[in-house]
Point group: C2
Chain length 224, copies 2
DNA sequence: ACCTGAACACCGTTCAAGT
DNA sequence: ACCTGAACACCGTTCAAGT
């Protein structure tokens, strides 16, 4: 569809590669981000990428920085001056979450990178600043970062995900082996009863995220 | 070192492959668990594995089940009859953590598997049973599972890990750019002051885990 | 029934060669 | 300087062939 078929192709650049990689990840997931595929997307051979990116890890770090830039921008835009530390923290984290929801591949990427990028470090530094202004000791702020974990950036990896297990096979499994998981079966039944239309399905991810976030923030506020 | 060089090799079996895979993962990490490498470890070609395992995903699911069996066994052994729901939950989760610490590759494996194994589902089912007996509504127990996330199984993936960032390069980076992360710098300084010997380094993972766990359990107990 | 060798379709990456 | 083609060392997996 690109009519510029015969024109001299736009010169490659790190920016261009990163934008192509984001588009691929948004469309087909993180595992589709391949040197060959990115090369194809920008109309070059895979090996040409190495002139603008040290290696694949460098490219992935670039993606992290792009997402962090989006988060920082949104956090700044949605900030409200009069907020208490708890309100500000909550707002900031939920803003970060909105960006994460737009890039479903980002959580896995953030968890996978071996070293933390400067942008991620700075994000956490500002959270500590928020807590210090709210009366936290350094020690408690430190605990808070660990307790929040990835939730500070707006996501949690949901190891226990009944929705994902509700595939045809697993659903049948659960029914047949209901005596093996009696409590979960009862839990499912009650939640289905409370939501007969089943509009939000098994779990409302956003509600669960906010419940856990408030649980943590309230607990931290109490220990302040 | 295996003297049984000329003897007819022990026949392959799923059990044998899984034990070999665990040994490889314990020694060289999860990414070293390769069909070819497992085959080599049991003295067979990689393609022979497919007679005892559907594919690599099936093999990884088998690893999850092995770890879960270890956890279930330890949880049962360390249980204390008179415990309140909170004490029992805490003890159970810390027992699971001990197993996870013996298999550093397990957390990443658990996070990576696309579908939850029956053993993991049953583990969570028993946690719900514990909470129900402690007076939880199904709704609150459901929230609790989501809030705990992977912590229910004794680990948290520690996105923010100053220890990992304390590599030579990052340490220099932090020093040079101390004005970029003033709060973290202050935090580091105070923690270094409180622990002049530096025996536990930047963070005590176990203490951080227990702090976050207690924060969550206390909060849940209060909402019970 | 169980195991094997060769082969296929993918990876990331190196390297010498082109312009 | 930037880009390329061929090649290398890996993957998981298929398939026809062996015993």
């Amino acid at each position: 569809m690109a009519q510029a078929n015969s024109e001299p192709r736009a010169p490659l650049s790190r920016e261009l590669l990163l934008r192509a990689a984001v588009a691929i990840a948004d469309a087909d997931g993180l595992e589709a981000v391949t040197m060959r595929r990115v090369g194809e997307a920008v109309g070059a051979e895979a090996m040409s990428l190495y002139h603008h990116v040290a290696n694949k890890g460098d490219l992935l770090d670039g993606l992290v920085d792009l997402v962090m830039a989006e988060i920082d921008e949104r956090v700044e835009r949605t900030a409200v001056p009069g907020d208490t530390w708890l309100q500000a923290m909550r707002r900031r984290i939920l803003s970060a979450r909105e960006v994460m929801l737009q890039h479903p591949w980002a959580p896995r990427l953030f968890e996978t990178r071996p070293t933390m990028s400067l942008a991620v470090v700075r994000y956490h530094d500002r959270l500590v600043g928020l807590m210090r202004a709210g009366g936290f000791s350094y020690d408690l702020a430190h605990h808070a970062l660990h307790a929040l974990g990835s939730r500070a950036l707006g996501f949690s990896q949901e190891l226990f995900d009944p929705a994902a297990s509700a595939s045809p096979a697993s659903e049948r499994m659960l029914r047949e082996l209901a005596d093996q998981v009696p409590h979960l079966t009862g839990m499912m039944a009650e939640i289905a009863h409370d939501d007969p239309a089943g509009t939000i399905g098994w779990c409302d991810d956003q509600a669960e995220f906010e419940f856990a976030l408030d649980l943590l923030l309230d607990g931290l506020d109490r220990r302040r």
